[in-house]
């Protein structure tokens, strides 16, 4: 019987196995190959907070999900179409996300008594009928790779480690992907170990060929390339996009870049990337603690660098006092907070949007700061540059909120030409005749940046309240009120310098969905699905939280019902209600995972039918 091709618009595949099974690598290869093939791609790695959790356990499961399609993907996918499960635990943990009638490719070698016991399965799910609603393809991959590499002379440990490539070969056949990209990647990786390289190439190909000739897998899927803009593309995580955004912003501002940081999940890769950019004159200090991270950055900013500190929730808590200092100094600083589930240590590897209140108000005294957010992994690049622009133009610390999902997930990114990115203007003071530390630009209210080394501008600044203009220490009551108001007004005026909120959908109507940050993607997919059913719903995706776009209040007035899904218990909802006195329906998911498009779609349908009744 000939094998059949089915064409799909998009599909979601999840590679799941033990922490040590190489699932992150397998998923990345599948994603890179699909992106190179011309698909839209969106991925998400899901790994435990333990580095090498005990083998075979439920909590040691590591997975990598790839959503790829001929249309916009926007999210890593709601439901899994194909689950590759390397052992019983990885099947058990992920089964609930697999679509009914979806495919499960299981490695039988991971379903032995020991594995079943560790997975707390009383019977073997591959035999007990519990998977009758799925299409199951179970093979002993360990046995297959042993046979293939019987004569390789490699130790059995090395042979066993190739099993992920066999699974990848199977998946490549299933979706008609070329092997070449992974082959050339393997050649780069194992160039110095020819026998290991040969084994890996052999196994990858064997997996592909086995799928082609076996008589159970009779259907394969075809997903055409997406209609993408012409250009050069790459896959990028949100954290790498932040790192590149910072280097680019420094370049466009003509400033040296300085990072002061301390390792913390899921923000650490920003430090990893920037610390490797020495050729680009990036200076970094891995400081002794989070406070050292931000205060060293403040010192560098005082010296005229584009200074930045990267962290996640617990680190942001520690930086709070220094953030107040930066507000008082009116010094440019970019603070990147990659949000994770809290409070306290919380769920360190899982995303959340629950640092918004802290970003807005988590400082003593009246300490207003601009707050921005990125809506996708690639948007992290643009919003980082925007955060730097605002920090430098308004002489203020700026918080950029991303989250663990944007930070670790990847998206295909159309690589910009640096020369097409607008320069960022910086106002250094140099005239001793007219310079006053707190003399302000009448329009932006920004003070000038006077950095050491500039002759004749020697002056003193610090955390004590300053007299407006002269910058001398002042305990005058009226001056303090005035300075508090000026600092607030300075941040408020940034509203004149940011884009208006754009409505996706009708400009008025029954339902408006407002989102901020990473919920953007799921909402876009939900709306696309609703529109296909003839439902009219509008969406505003916010990237500026403080100040808000000038027209957001007006937009809200034009809709009967406003829905605000967020990964917290209603932080932006509370802010918007307080400001505009307009009721908002919150939809709050605080489960360490993002919304699925389906969840949003169901919620909107509920609201629509409630209106109809």
């Amino acid at each position: 019987m000939d094998k059949q091709f089915i064409e799909l618009e998009s599909a979601t595949i999840r590679f799941a196995g033990d922490s040590g099974d190489g699932m992150q690598l397998t998923g990345t290869q599948f994603s890179d190959t699909s992106a190179g093939f011309g698909n839209e791609v969106n991925t998400f790695p899901d790994y435990p907070s333990e580095i090498r959790a005990p083998e075979g356990t439920l909590y040691g499961v590591s997975a990598y999900q790839v959503h790829f399609g001929s249309k916009e993907t926007n999210t890593p996918g709601d439901e899994i179409d194909v689950l590759v499960a390397m052992n019983a635990s990885s099947l058990k943990v992920n089964l609930k996300h697999v679509r009914k009638h979806g495919l499960i490719i299981a490695n039988k070698a991971g379903f032995k008594d020991k594995n079943l016991k560790l997975a707390k399965c009383e019977t073997n799910p591959l035999d007990d009928g519990s998977l009758k609603d799925y299409q199951v393809f179970a093979y002993d991959i360990n046995e297959s790779v042993r046979q293939i590499l019987e004569d390789s002379g490699l130790p059995s440990k090395v042979i066993d480690r190739t099993k992920n490539l066999y699974a990848l070969g199977l998946a490549y056949w299933l979706f008609d992907r070329p092997l070449e990209p992974t082959e050339s990647w393997l050649k780069k990786k194992f160039g110095k170990k020819p026998e290991v390289l040969e084994a890996n190439l052999k196994v990858l190909k064997a997996g592909y060929e086995f799928a082609a000739i076996n008589q159970d897998m009779m259907v394969r899927y075809n997903i055409k390339p997406a209609k993408l803009e012409k250009g050069t593309y790459r896959n990028i995580t949100g954290n790498e996009a932040v790192a590149l955004g910072l280097v680019t912003a420094a370049n466009r501002a003509g400033l040296p870049l300085f990072l002061g940081s301390y390792p913390i999940t899921p923000a650490t890769e920003i430090l990893h990337h920037l610390s490797g950019y020495k050729q680009y004159r990036v200076k970094h200090m891995q400081m002794e603690d989070e406070i050292g991270g931000i205060t060293s950055a403040i010192g560098a900013a005082y010296g005229g660098a584009l200074a930045t500190t990267s962290t996640s929730g617990p680190g942001l808590s520690l930086k709070v006092e220094a953030m107040g200092l930066a507000v008082m100094l009116e010094i440019p600083l970019v603070i990147v907070d990659v949000q994770r589930a809290g409070p306290s240590t919380g769920l360190p590897t899982k995303p959340e949007q629950s640092d918004l209140y802290m970003a807005m108000w988590g400082r003593h005294g009246e300490a207003p700061m601009p707050v921005l957010c990125a809506v996708s992994s690639t948007d992290c690049f643009d919003m980082t540059i925007e955060a730097a622009r605002i920090a430098l133009k308004y002489m203020t610390p700026v918080i950029l909120l991303t989250d663990g999902y944007l930070a670790q997930g990847t998206e295909a990114w159309k690589i910009p030409d640096v020369n097409n990115i607008p320069p960022i203007e910086v106002n250094f003071a140099s005239d001793p005749e007219t310079y006053q530390p707190y003399k302000r630009d009448p329009e932006t209210l920004a003070r000038m940046w006077a950095i050491p080394g500039t002759p004749g501008l020697e002056h003193r600044i610090g955390g004590l309240e300053k007299e407006n203009g002269s910058g001398l220490v002042s305990h005058d009551a009226m001056n303090h009120q005035r300075m508090c108001e000026i600092r607030a007004e300075k941040v408020a005026r940034i509203a004149n310098d940011i884009p208006l909120a754009e409505i996706d959908g009708p400009e008025s109507g029954e339902i408006l969905v407002i989102s901020w940050g990473s919920t953007h993607g799921a909402i876009k997919n939900a709306l696309a699905s609703l529109r296909a059913k003839g439902r009219q719903v509008s969406h505003v995706s916010l990237r500026y939280i403080n100040p808000l776009p000038r027209n957001i209040g007006e937009i809200m007035e034009k809709f009967d019902t406003i829905l605000l899904p967020e990964m917290n218990l209603g932080q932006l909802k509370t802010m918007l209600q307080a400001k505009f006195l307009k009721p908002i329906i919150g939809y709050n998911k605080i489960q360490g995972s993002t919304f699925t498009a389906k969840e949003i779609e169901i919620k909107i349908e509920e609201l629509l039918s409630a209106r109809e009744n």
Binding site: Q279, G299, A307, R460
Partner: protein, 349 residues
Amino acid sequence: MTSFVDNLINKKYLEVPTYTPKDFKADIDVRWCAGCGGFSILAQVQRIMPDLGIPKEKIAFISGIGCSSRFPYYMDVYGFHGIHGRALAIASGLKVARPDLSVWVATGDGDCMSIGGNHLIHACRRNVDLNVIMFNNEIYSLTKGQASPLSRVGQKTKSSPLGLLDEPFNPASLALGSGASFVARGYDKDPGQLKYLFDRAAKHKGLALVEVYTNCVIFNDGAFEEYTRRESKFDTTVFLEHQKPLIFGEKRNKGIKFDGYKPVVINIDEGDNSINDVTLHDEKDSALALLLAHMSFEPGLPRPMGVIQAIERPTYDEKVTWQIENEIATKGEPDLNKLLKGSDFWEIN
């Protein structure tokens, strides 16, 4: 692209203006209490500045919080009054970003040893090229008299009314143990010695910590009297000079001799001992430095003043510069478009 900042960093000075100490006095009243030891420190810092050969605009003073930390306001150079405990971290970031600057830190025993202790030990180990003056008055003064980590066991303060239970740090031992390259100690009542120590610190490449016994007339008056009064100081202190014997005493007849690792006081005018038995100070001997730092806190032995250790090793800020230069020398001038592109990219036509 040469930018404003690059131009400042690379600016060549054909000659540095001639300054007097007055040029470093800010036009502001000094608001320390009358009789505060801080005045002596301020005067000596202002006195050495003209001799450093550094243009005023290239000098920055960074501080934390406390009486000591008002210091930058009184100096007519660039000044930054930070937050409690963080002066060393702020200064480290500034020095790494701007290696062309002469960066000074004014801090106190609370600011530096307690809330800022973590930054101190790490700044010492990194050997960032900073000049750190620690005003030690063995008390929290600005908050009106609580025990500091350098206050003494049994000391009665507002926060230890029944006597302090904590053991104090030995600052010199702590700094040496953390890898500080330059550690010195002086006291407010000996301006000549302070001037010498500040000058040495300024000229030292790497982190220089100068602990200064600073009398607080209000909350801990006379804390250091035994080391500073004319009547006792010759017997309670020994001034360290490189390659000179450790001699002290009113009649300069006492010496320190090491019996193994144990310092003992010998009389060089009487008995079998002579000056030849006295240990020579060696600023470059880090083992000796540790013994001397420890000796400070043993009864019956004089407290060492002067430069306890001065060794040269590469500074953190210059290593950062070398790493950058090396990368550019190996990989070429940076091309940002290349960085954005990465290694795994594809074309859509």
